[in-house]
Symmetry: none
Subunit: 233 residues, 2 copies
DNA sequence: GCGAACATGACGGATTCATGACAGCTGTCA
DNA sequence: TGACAGCTGTCATGAATCCGTCATGTTCGC
């Protein structure tokens, strides 16, 4: 539960004013965060899928899209914590921001210590949920070693590729729940992948060929027709 | 996935001013929450043990102990979401409140809509972790695993299709209440569906064939002539 | 007994998924 | 650098099965 020995938390700072970014970045780095920047909504979404941060700090006034829209777009594929950081203090904006999916809403001028405290409070709430994925998952005769990126059956290592492993690990982390193609796409391929969702089918097949004893009638990687796939013991 | 049919969320309102409690209670009940009250830290902790709420609203100025202390005491025994509600706007207090374990910190004078939005944002973040229990519905000898999209009887999996499953899950969520064809149409088929409502009959039949031991005289999926259908144990 | 409401069985179109093939890309190793 | 193997995403095809509709039979309430 404690943060000892943990790597610095990463933030994505989205604001169109270079000066504000600079000030905030310095203040936040001072607080021990690792800060990435984006100047508009488009860049933010790209950065998000390239390297998902622990928290997004989102300004409302952006050159391309407004922050509400960007927030909704983020939420469409990601659960990343979002804090709206803006000069607009009107209560309607606060409500709109939170309704758009933001977790918190703070107004400029900012006090760095307070922002940092709010980030910590949010991380405290979110971290346990992320940590819930245990390091070793056993499903039927499969042992999935997540940090080791290795899957064994009867002590024998199965030669999975990276994508195959990430896919299997996601399904294993969901404890038998059905995951839709879209969920799997955003988790395995990353948020913002726009290709055909049939790619999931293909990789499920490749996984089955390696993981299932009889790939023609899969026991573990089960199809939920019209819904997605799930992993069962 | 949706909250349809969910009971109201419960709040515990901790403030020593009866007048403020009254105003807040009315405003929050108006927003659809179920509100309990406590006038001091001692009562708050007792109420928390007796009947844990979904969210605690905690004033800083309390007659017995200050809010920071109460918050820390709450945290010692519970992960319940806490929002500090206070007149003290000083940034140091905000930081202290959040460091004491609060999830959010809002200052009076309050805008009910904003407070409500912040409560919703917090619940949105917390709910998925708590949701795990209500995911499994048992009706008679049927076990309906909603996230797993699976129904079992005597440990045996019933091969339901997507529509059949959604239909059964809706009926199961209503606990013996009669649901009209129109209600079922809008919940299972979605609001935009304009076809014949007899489609419900057909799927009820298909469900009976798979779910009922004697489909000719259904025990669970009961017809309410002229009204709709209901699921009974 | 009559009409309305529901049950039943059948059918064709539409979805959805499995499967195998293939070309582009990436990283590796000589 | 160039060859090469392995990984990835795309596509076409075919099979399975699901779904909405309809016609007809049955039951229920009055």
């Amino acid at each position: 539960m404690s943060d000892t020995g943990r790597v610095a938390h990463s933030l994505l700072l989205v604001d169109d004013e270079p000066r504000i970014r600079r000030v905030l970045r310095l203040a936040l780095e001072d607080e021990g965060y690792q800060v990435a920047e984006a100047a508009n909504g488009y860049d933010a979404l790209a950065a998000l899928r390239r390297e998902p941060p622990d928290v997004v700090l989102l300004d409302l006034m952006l050159p391309d899209r407004d922050g509400f829209t960007v927030c909704r777009e983020i939420r469409r594929a990601s659960d990343v914590p979002v804090i709206m950081v803006t000069a607009r203090t009107d209560s309607h904006d606060v409500v709109a921001g939170l309704e758009a999916g933001a977790d918190d809403y703070v107004t400029k001028p900012l006090v760095a210590k307070e922002l940092s405290a709010r980030i910590r409070a949010l991380l405290r709430r979110v971290e346990p949920a992320n940590a819930r994925q245990s390091d070793l998952v056993e499903v039927g005769d499969l042992r999935i070693d997540v940090p080791g990126a290795e899957v064994t059956r009867d002590g024998e290592v199965l030669p999975l590729t990276r994508t195959e492993f990430k896919l299997l690990a996601e399904l294993a982390g969901a404890e038998g729940k059905v995951l839709s193609r879209e969920q799997l796409l955003s988790k395995v391929w990353g948020y913002g992948y726009f290709g055909d969702s049939r790619i999931v089918d293909v990789h499920i097949r490749r996984l089955r060929l390696k993981v299932e004893r009889d790939p023609a009638s899969p026991k573990h990687l089960v199809t939920a027709r019209g819904l997605g796939y799930r992993l069962v013991s």
